[in-house]
Amino acid sequence: MFQYNKLNSELSFFQKVKKLDFILIFCIILLSAISLLVMYSTDGGEILYHTKSHFIKLLTFFSLMMVISFFNIKLWHITSYFIYFVIILLLIWVSAYGIKVSGSQRWINLYFIVLQPSELMKIGIILCLAKYYHRLKIENVNSFTTIIISLSIIIVPIILVLSQPDLGTSILIALSGLIVLWLGGVKMKYFFISLISFLISLPFIISFLKPYQKMRILTFLDPDRDPLGAGYQIIQSKIAIGSGGITGKGFLKGTQSYLEFLPEKHTDFIFTLFSEEFGFVGSICLLLIYSIIIVRIIRIGAISRSNFSKLFCFGFAFAIFVYIVVNLSMVLGLLPIVGSPLPILSFGGSSLLATMIGFGIVLSAKINHKQMIA
């Protein structure tokens, strides 16, 4: 409370409301509405568990987003490292006491929500690195120590998430972290060098993958190899999307999902269901809404005066973009199946929580865009 008073002395409540980005909020609400419709469809045209649960989560986390946005951006700057370490502790806790579901240990039961800390880390890593690069002098960006420290910040959570195991989320965390490094000014040649060395070590990495992960990659390369086994998800997803056509099969009329040919239709394959029922037109509209959201976040970053806000907004915008691209590429058969949800649309509390927290901080940056951070 002490900090609250101190940090928000300049703006009154109404001034803050006025300064909110209403287009961004409208798009978020629109997406939430769409996600509820799609959940309703996955429940077979009835208001059942998924619809209800998703509605409650949307309501709660949307409120949380609004609360976060009313705090001064300075608060998030100050607590960045703290938040990062808390999430690291949660990840360690998960690896020790987490709930195990079908072979991976990713969740903590907090009774009101089953939390997946790795999802929160997607935001945590951006916060932490944004603060680190905010302070850093441009001359020191490419120094050896800086790069080692920032890489450590990325690698520690990745190791923890990979050990769960959860390849999809760790890739997303890595990408979210690396983008901040990129924005922060790390030399391009380092990126190229590491990309090349990654490609060279790829066979070596593959030998470390779990059999099911190898299978996924092989299946991605040729889904028809085993149409009833590993390739099933990709094939069925492509059939669903392809059969949607221009205008789709109509709301609640997606045969592929209704007749249970689609796997994981609430979570990773939610776009498949949406695209089957609303077709190419619907999918383009959805992409448009996402694009507007990304553009609005970038705009907030652009008008922000502090580098922390800029780095966070740009980083977060990129992260959202990556989530969408990875998820869509996966369901469209362009990437191997790695578990990755579609922001806001997919069912799942932790991912929604992380996304909403991110939006909250972005909105806070908008309200305080003129604020300088020392």
Partner: protein
């Protein structure tokens, strides 16, 4: 620090790099849009088809089999509504309770219960288990009364094959039953149309005419989910019933044949001598084909299988018998045709003939005295035929016998179990037994013993061809398109303007006339072997020839004992045979009768002919009226 130049430079770097990323994002998003475009617009058709393939599944229903009717249109193989009981496991609340209830209601055996449990394990929970294929009406009512208590039970009405005349047509029709793997693989049509629960012909015409009778499947299209469960019905496509097949058989004659052979082993065949239509064809004893429809019980099967009278053998087509004296018309005809003897040729019968130290006995121990051809036929004098056979030789005899249909299948492809029989000659013996022909064998061939083996239907065809004046006919059991009528064939023969199905079998019709007269006297003159079975009324009067086929060689001792038939063990008794045609003045029908181990032909077989001719000739008018019945393509 705010206006610090490094701070500003840093902001520039961030903004510049953001711009690069923004451009990259645009490219990636365009890629995704392009992919969406290609899937949803370019390949839309392909994926729509795949999606329909996913969700629509067809269920074939068993086709309705075509009916088989007799010449008069009476259904002899039809379809009957049956009541079945199915269980749909996923709807059952308490499976054990349900089974106990059903067990009490239907008196199911423990084996049936364990079968139900077995099929429950094999099937998906929404697939129905057939508890009973054929419920009686009272059982069906009982189930319907307690239906409120039997959750998951479904009484079903369906169609099953039915043979209303039970055992009298079994050997002609065969029966249908569940096909085994081999049955399905053998027949492509069955393979295409097979659905579980379907029954196919296993024997007889039901098997050979399978592809005509089978019909087409009704098809139901359902929307199914990923697990194959039916969600809702989309379409029902009606199937077509199989073709109706009309046989040439007359149920009344068939019934009488069955009655006359009751408790005997034997066969009766009746044929139209001009059209070749088989009017009756019965093998006794028979069995009820209805027993096989739902799987025959083991006890019943054992009873049929172990019956010493061999009900499973179709004696008319697969029973091989020595023709005995019924071959004599052919021997005599062959001798006349080959100018070996004239009609006045005489032989003195002393009761036995010696040849190379071997004695050949006539059936009449004291001998017949001087015998003419007519008298030899009439009294069936063996010595006479020993002599003309010796003069004729077996090779020439075989040529005549083959012309009249011996040693060849009569109905050909229609019956898989039909046998060819055998008429020997010197060449055959050399080839098959590796030994030279012995003259003594010619002698016994001349009285229808020895190697000769004939089926009852062959004898019937032989008689028919003697009766119609020596013209070959094509026997048939199925009425096909535009069948020739009796009058058309008869007229063509009379005018010597032969139809392509008939060929002339004899050189001199006079020779055949002599044989016909001899057969007439055999039945209608005093001392004829079948004189006691004659009918004097010209309308029914028939001509015939008896035959008594030895099953084993009669030893000297047995000959001396001259045992009565009851004193001989069943399996050693002679087969009784009789061939005949009638009415004598305007012949129309030929028949052959065989009573296995019946003793002499004149006592056991000829009286049967008398009964048959009465009925057949009485039904002639009715039969002729039926000739314009609707026809079926075969």
């Amino acid at each position: 620090m705010i206006n610090n130049s490094s701070g500003i430079r840093k902001t520039d770097v961030i903004n510049r790099r953001m711009f690069i990323i923004g451009a990259a994002k645009l490219i990636v998003f365009s890629g995704i849009v392009a992919r969406l475009f290609s899937l949803q617009i370019n390949d839309n058709k392909k994926y729509l088809t795949l999606s329909d393939k996913n969700r629509i599944r067809e269920w074939k229903l068993p086709p309705t089999r075509g009916e088989i009717v007799d010449y008069f249109g009476n259904i002899i193989a039809g379809n009957l509504k049956v009541y079945q009981l199915h269980i749909i496991p996923e709807q059952v609340e308490n499976f054990n309770y349900l089974l106990t209830r059903l067990k009490n209601l239907l008196q199911l055996s423990d084996r049936e219960i364990s079968n139900i449990l077995k099929s429950k394990k094999k099937l998906k929970p929404w697939e129905s288990i057939i508890v009973s294929e054929n419920l009686s009406w009272s059982q069906f009512l009982k189930i319907n009364n307690y239906l409120y208590d039997l959750v998951g039970v479904k009484p079903v009405m369906t169609i099953s094959r039915n043979y209303p005349f039970s055992d009298i047509y079994t050997h002609v029709l065969g029966y249908v039953s569940q096909p085994n793997e081999k049955d399905i693989l053998e027949n492509e049509v069955v393979q295409q149309k097979f659905v579980p629960g379907m029954k196919i012909g296993k024997l007889g015409l039901e098997k050979t005419l399978e592809n005509y009778l089978i019909g087409t499947n009704a098809i139901q299209r359902y929307e199914v989910n990923a697990y194959g469960k039916r969600i809702n019905q989309l379409e029902h496509q009606k199937g077509q019933q199989g073709s109706k097949i009309r046989l040439t058989l007359d149920t009344e004659v068939q019934k009488l044949s069955a009655k006359l052979l009751l408790d005997k082993a034997g066969s009766i065949s009746v044929m139209d001598i001009y059209t070749g239509e088989i009017i009756a064809m019965h093998s006794s004893p028979s069995y009820d084909p209805n027993s096989f429809l739902f799987g025959i019980s083991k006890d019943e099967w054992e009873l049929i299988r172990n019956n010493p009278l061999k009900p499973l053998i179709n004696k008319t087509l697969s029973g091989l018998y020595s023709p005995g004296s019924t071959i004599k018309p052919i021997v005599a005809l062959s001798a006349l045709e080959n100018n070996i003897i004239g009609p006045n040729f005489k032989v003195k019968c002393t009761g036995k003939t010696e040849l190379y130290g071997q004695t050949f006995h006539c059936w009449k121990e004291k001998g017949h005295g001087f015998m003419s051809l007519k008298n030899a036929m009439k009294q069936s004098c063996d010595t006479y035929f020993y002599e003309i056979a010796r003069l004729l030789g077996v090779d020439r005899l075989k040529i005549t016998a083959e012309k009249f249909g011996l040693g060849e299948k009569v109905l050909g492809a229609y019956f898989k179990n039909e046998k060819k029989g055998l008429f020997p000659n010197t060449f055959w013996k050399k080839n098959n037994l590796g030994k030279g022909w012995v003259l003594g064998e010619t002698l016994i061939t001349g009285i229808g013993q020895g190697y000769t083996q004939t089926t009852p239907l062959q004898l019937c065809l032989m008689t028919a061809q003697i009766a119609n004046g020596g013209y070959s006919i094509k026997p048939k059991i199925i009425v096909n398109n535009n069948p020739l009528t009796f009058n058309e064939v008869k007229k063509s023969i009379k005018e010597q303007n032969l139809l392509n199905i008939n060929t002339k079998l004899v050189k001199n019709p006079k020779n055949l006339r002599i044989i016909q007269e001899a057969m007439f006297s055999s039945t209608n003159e005093v001392r004829g072997t079948s004189y006691r079975s004659r009918i004097d009324d010209k309308k029914y009067q028939f001509a015939g020839k008896t035959g008594t086929a030895q099953v084993k060689r009669i030893s000297k001792r047995e000959r001396e004992l001259d045992l009565k038939i009851d004193q001989i063990p069943y399996n050693d008794r002679d087969h009784a045979l009789y061939i005949a045609y009638g009415p004598y003045v305007n012949p129309r029908y030929a028949l052959s009768i065989i009573v296995e181990h019946g003793g002499s032909g004149s006592k056991a077989a000829a009286p049967i002919a008398k009964e048959l001719f009465k009925l057949i000739i009485d039904r002639e008018e009715l039969r002729d009226k039926q000739s314009n019945f609707e026809e079926i393509n075969i």
